[in-house]
Assembly symmetry: C2
Homo-oligomer: 583 residues x 2
Amino acid sequence: MSEHYMAPLDDLNFVLNEVLDYQRLFSLPAYEHADVKLAGAVLNESARFNEEVLGPLNSIGDEIGSRLENGRVKTPPGFRDAYWKYVEGGWPALDLPLEFGGQALPLTLQAACAEMVNGACVSFGMLPLMERAATRLLLAHAPRDIVAAYAPDLVAGKWGATICISEAQAGSDVGRISTRAQPRGDGRYTLSGSKIFITYGDQDYTEQIVHMVLARLPDAPAGTRGLSLFLVPSRLLGADGRPGAANAVNVSRVEHKMGLKASPTCVLNLEGAEGVLIGRENAGLKAMFTMVNTMRLEVAVQGVAVAGAASVKALRYAAERPQGGPPTARPTLIVEHADVRRMLYIMRARTEAMRALVLETAYQLDIAQAGAVDDRAGALALAEWLLPVCKACGSEAGFEVANLAVQVLGGHGYVADAGVEQYVRDSRVMSIYEGANGIQALDLVTRKLGEGGRYELFTARIRADLTRCRGQAPLAALGRALEDALNRLDACTRAVVAGLSKAPRDVEAGAAAYLALVGVVAGGWMWLRMAAAANGGSAQHRAKRAVAKFYIDYLLPEVRTLECRVMVGAACLDSLDAETLTG
Amino acid sequence: MSEHYMAPLDDLNFVLNEVLDYQRLFSLPAYEHADVKLAGAVLNESARFNEEVLGPLNSIGDEIGSRLENGRVKTPPGFRDAYWKYVEGGWPALDLPLEFGGQALPLTLQAACAEMVNGACVSFGMLPLMERAATRLLLAHAPRDIVAAYAPDLVAGKWGATICISEAQAGSDVGRISTRAQPRGDGRYTLSGSKIFITYGDQDYTEQIVHMVLARLPDAPAGTRGLSLFLVPSRLLGADGRPGAANAVNVSRVEHKMGLKASPTCVLNLEGAEGVLIGRENAGLKAMFTMVNTMRLEVAVQGVAVAGAASVKALRYAAERPQGGPPTARPTLIVEHADVRRMLYIMRARTEAMRALVLETAYQLDIAQAGAVDDRAGALALAEWLLPVCKACGSEAGFEVANLAVQVLGGHGYVADAGVEQYVRDSRVMSIYEGANGIQALDLVTRKLGEGGRYELFTARIRADLTRCRGQAPLAALGRALEDALNRLDACTRAVVAGLSKAPRDVEAGAAAYLALVGVVAGGWMWLRMAAAANGGSAQHRAKRAVAKFYIDYLLPEVRTLECRVMVGAACLDSLDAETLTG
């Protein structure tokens, strides 16, 4: 069994080139400097880089972890070197604008490459993610001089970045952030407060770390409408524009976590640190939301990445591990046992559905950004609908598939050497950070449903694909099951929409199940499209058709439980007071 | 939030005294030396011991772990002392016979106490479990002189024990065990081979470790019919009956595992070690099976224990953690959020159903052992039916509930300090060891269904309880839902039984779902009984009725997905050859 990462190039290429309308992107003005051939070369090179450079770091990072030494974070051996190779390769800037040194390639391609980064080493991938997110924040909201001072080095990956939101008393409830920003009168601000769970809050890769901080100005309104966004560098820029004196930002703690051990999760103390305002006063949260799409999609990518990496290891193990069968004969390979096959099929079905859904969402974001003007609103609406589903279902698929991989390997999966149990630990946080999955579900039902026609657009796309498949016998059978599921989803949606005004607590009670239901149906949609695309005789195409059928037969029936849960209402949750429930 | 374990005494007492026919046990001759009052005192004392002595060790054990030093295992600080306190308290011998120094109390009580041991520290609980299992093996199969030489010190906990089954090429497939036993001509045997995954294969608590080893005699038949059972002490007994010279049993490795880090999982090399035969030649596996009930029930107990401990921490956190609500008001406690409640209710519903089911199964094993002669066969049949369900669903409940606890705590749950993520890691192996859950499912459909009338007995009990509840309005509503689920299970069972001869591969494909379906229905049965028992106005009784309703409304609908999966057949798993599936 290979210890290191093997990139799923064939599967990525299948989705990009055979399922999505990928070529169309390169006819758009924004991407006409590139073409499918170049994009293919980038993908191949990404696979090579991540297999060779990052893959071997994953278990070292887990074993040693990042830790605090004399007030600074020390990352595990090899990470710093790998980071600079990543920078030299131009990987931080794939989808960032040309004018700041980026490559302005589609987000779709970036997401495919990010799957490989995160499949090789999620702990590593966290820093480039923060850099891209911070860059997008600056480009969207910062004044020109700030962009000029910070964007080029961020885009190049020469400087690190963090996003500082959470505080001890303010996790999901960002409105209670209490970090203070005091105007100094010279256009700058003095920030004081303590931020927790800051990913790569410190590191030893880059000379500068650009902290994007939500804080509260004096007399700011309570709640989220009183939050402003500040850029707080770890070192103040000198007159020459280079990082100079240290700013008053100190790391007091690196968390001891279940996983992602190489990615330092810091408590960051702002002790009168100097910062500049980004965007308007009290509009910080709204500004932060411009990077939410970037971040949530990337967490979905992380989930797919772990699911993909875990699948590859389990599939290879099952294909090589002899166990069982008549005692006088050579043992059977475990891939032949029905229950092992069941797990392997679930792994493939879940992973590949989510991979396709994530890339479809990235594709819609590309069209929303750079497509023909008439296409943009619809693409954005569809992407906005799919994003919370991708984030929640992607993160859960990562964890579920990693766990199935452990089960396929049995006792060997539970020991560290196989490199599989790490996937379970690393992926566990994905359901929590960047908006816990319960928050994603509320976002879906309260913000994405109703106005905007997003749901209608989503289901219209599915029905169009169903119509297209109706004439082809095997696809028609898949389609009938999907159509039944879609009808059940329609019924649930009508109930949820009706409940939004009349019985919001009932909607909240069913929100998690509703999101899961949308995810299962969206997965079925992806498999219908993949099965339709896989119309040849190659092993890959035969496998896609078989896994599509498995998804429809075995996973799609989850709708039957989920529809009950969507409809269950809050009465069964609210019959006990808090003390009786928890006492 | 309390860092340490809080024993669920009230919940245990509720099941024992209000749901089960517990008092009846103490009217049986085997237990008439005890009574409910004594049993209650034992339970209270167990709670105190496990909260005070074992609870504080759990995180230390995780952090430091057991490791190999100069060829011997060194356990974490405090474990050895705690072990001897456990021995002094008489805890190893609760349900072992009086004549060897045990207390001959019901297994039902032992299981309740074992929940508290494992809730406080699963890693600790592994050794007493091995000792009880080894003792039962000896009592059932060893010649008198061996029993006399080994049983008293094992029962007293003065000597440790292991069960040595797995080898590198023989995990679930025990028929391929290749460890050799050569007769020496003096009634003793020389054993050579290497065993893996040996729990407490070495430790620094006891001077003697009694290894129970499956090995193969010369010219033994291939497969499981050629396995014999041997007792191999770590130190050979001298003429005085005390441990003397070291036997040739060596630890070459302690695994680096995902969890259970204080419990040393060893590679054990038998290098011409001396052993004695236990039971008949080539009947070793059958002998081992006399302890399977003990072991599988205990794994289910472990799952319930972790679920219970994780639940308590999450419930307390939710009751104390402010987060959300209008920004100008004091923050809401998270227990008031619908989605947090949903998770807390799932945790309670799953944990308490499994706790009741496990204690019910222990109770049936007590009746099977010590009940009126006419009751024994039925009780054994019911217990045999429930055991694989307890093992698989109990282990999965432990992991599911631990994960929900992490989710309730959010980012705080992902860091080690909260002591919750450890539950996820510790419980992950429970679905694997002592017969992976896929093996439990095969056991249920191929051995427990069909002949023996076990299924019929199980469903007859449920229907009797349904009849009893029909007249009481709230129970009748729960009952109708349960009856619907039971009817669906009946239909699935008919299909599975028919498939056993005609289409065994289809049965295997649906086996995991079938076991899960039985588990969900059995949980509903437990909740019906608990709701019926909780007919008073106390907070505890009100909570039980509310959680019962939640189980029926929210969890029982899982049958609708599971029934599809039971029926799905093997075609969707077998359409690809191994290479195409895994390539």
